[in-house]
């Protein structure tokens, strides 16, 4: 099978495009300049939003950089916890899939907002797990919430593809 034949296959085309966009986007966010100028301030914004929600719930939450702390518990938001990775994977999936530009735009904006909302729920819930069930914090952080966030991202992509994707040409 040559490259042209491979490119004709929709699944191969999607996977190649997806991996290319994903690879490029992850390379870009790994650059120190991008990390300092975008990723760290972005994570700090997520921390401030989490602190704001926790204060609504009556916690005496203080945010310092990417650390949300209160007299009861403290969480540090790292790169893997800011929703950026799930967002980039979701965006790669939307951009690689055959659909109109307007549909992709809706997908990207709607998806980013929804993923951030889910991530906010995740951080706040992890804070309370840390307060009430600290022995389960690591499990909840790694395999419960990470799996949930990935599944949520994929579900969003499925809903988007179902509503907005273009029908494939019959070969």
């Amino acid at each position: 099978m040559n490259l042209r034949e491979l490119w004709q296959k929709p699944e191969a085309r999607f996977l190649i495009l997806f991996l290319t966009i994903l690879g490029v986007s992850f390379t870009v966010v790994a650059l120190r300049q991008v990390n300092d100028a975008f990723v760290t301030p972005y994570t700090a914004v997520i921390a401030r939003m989490s602190g704001f929600v926790l204060r609504i719930f009556g916690e005496e939450a203080v945010v310092t950089g990417c650390v949300v702390s209160s007299p009861r518990f403290a969480v540090t938001i790292y790169n893997g916890c800011n929703g950026l990775i799930t967002s980039l994977i979701f965006i790669s999936g939307v951009l690689a899939f055959p659909a109109k530009i307007s549909a992709k735009l809706i997908g990207v904006i709607g998806g980013l907002l929804t993923i951030q909302l889910i991530n906010l729920v995740r951080i706040v819930s992890l804070f309370y797990i840390g307060v009430f069930l600290p022995q389960h914090f690591n499990d909840a952080h790694i395999f419960v919430w990470q799996s949930l966030v990935i599944i949520a991202g994929i579900s969003l992509w499925i809903v988007w593809a179902h509503k907005f994707a273009l029908p494939q040409e019959s070969s």
Binding site: P10, E11, F14, L15, F18, L19, L22, G23, F26, A30, N79, G80, I85, T86, L88, I89, S92, G93, N138, D139, I142, F143, V144, Q146, S147, L148, I150, I151, I154, S155, I158, V159, A161, H162, A165, L166, P167, Q168, S170
Partner: protein, 202 residues
């Protein structure tokens, strides 16, 4: 086929719980298998063969036979390396007819690919530690190119890989099923079975 998407999305929370249970039950075996393959891959390119990966309490401990006995033993969390099995299982089980022969074969193939990706992720963790984390020894034994290559491999197989591989594997092996489910690709009628020609060689 519109209903199929809704059925899939309704099934997903249930299959996620089932997948967590399966993963928790299989976790010791998965940990050992992933560490075993990673160790084999590392030792294949290692002379003398000194790396031993021992799994204890869901941590892969990097025990080199040439380390001093009073050395600290670095470890990698196997939970972080293998948790994405949950995502792959949940996605597979939520598809229509998950226990049909075809879907079970696809699950097996997909799981094998994921297993390989997890082993490679662990390999990069170990090699990155060797190349960067052991001070002067790392400087002496690894070049800048090797440090960059292992760092690059670890970065991409870590968060991006762990998060995206289950989705990619699931979609890659089930493209026809997923597209039908989304209503994007019409169901094609099955070809009638034709008798296999028996051809002799030579």
């Amino acid at each position: 086929m519109k209903n199929a998407t809704q059925v899939f999305l309704r099934r997903l929370p249930v299959t996620l719980i089932a997948a967590v249970v399966i993963w928790l039950l299989l976790r010791p075996a998965i940990d050992t298998a992933v560490a075993g393959l990673a160790q084999t891959l590392i030792r294949s390119f290692e002379y003398p063969r000194v790396t031993r990966l021992v799994v204890e309490d869901h941590q892969a401990q990097m025990r080199r036979t040439d380390l001093r006995t009073d050395s600290k033993v670095p470890s990698v969390s196997m939970t972080e390396v293998t948790f994405n099995t949950i995502v792959l299982l949940a996605l597979y089980l939520a598809l229509p007819h998950p226990f049909s022969r075809r879907q079970l074969e696809r699950l097996f193939m997909g799981w094998c690919v994921l297993y390989l990706s997890q082993s490679i992720n662990l390999l990069f963790h170990v090699k990155t530690l060797y190349a960067m984390g052991l001070g002067e020894w790392s400087q002496h034994h690894y070049s800048d190119l090797a440090r960059n290559a292992f760092g690059f491999g670890r970065y991409f197989t870590d968060l991006p890989g762990r998060f995206s591989f289950p989705f990619l594997i699931w979609l890659g092996f089930n493209w026809d099923v997923v597209m039908k489910m989304l209503g994007i690709q019409e169901e094609t009628p099955r070809k009638p079975k034709t008798k296999k020609k028996t051809s002799g060689r030579g």
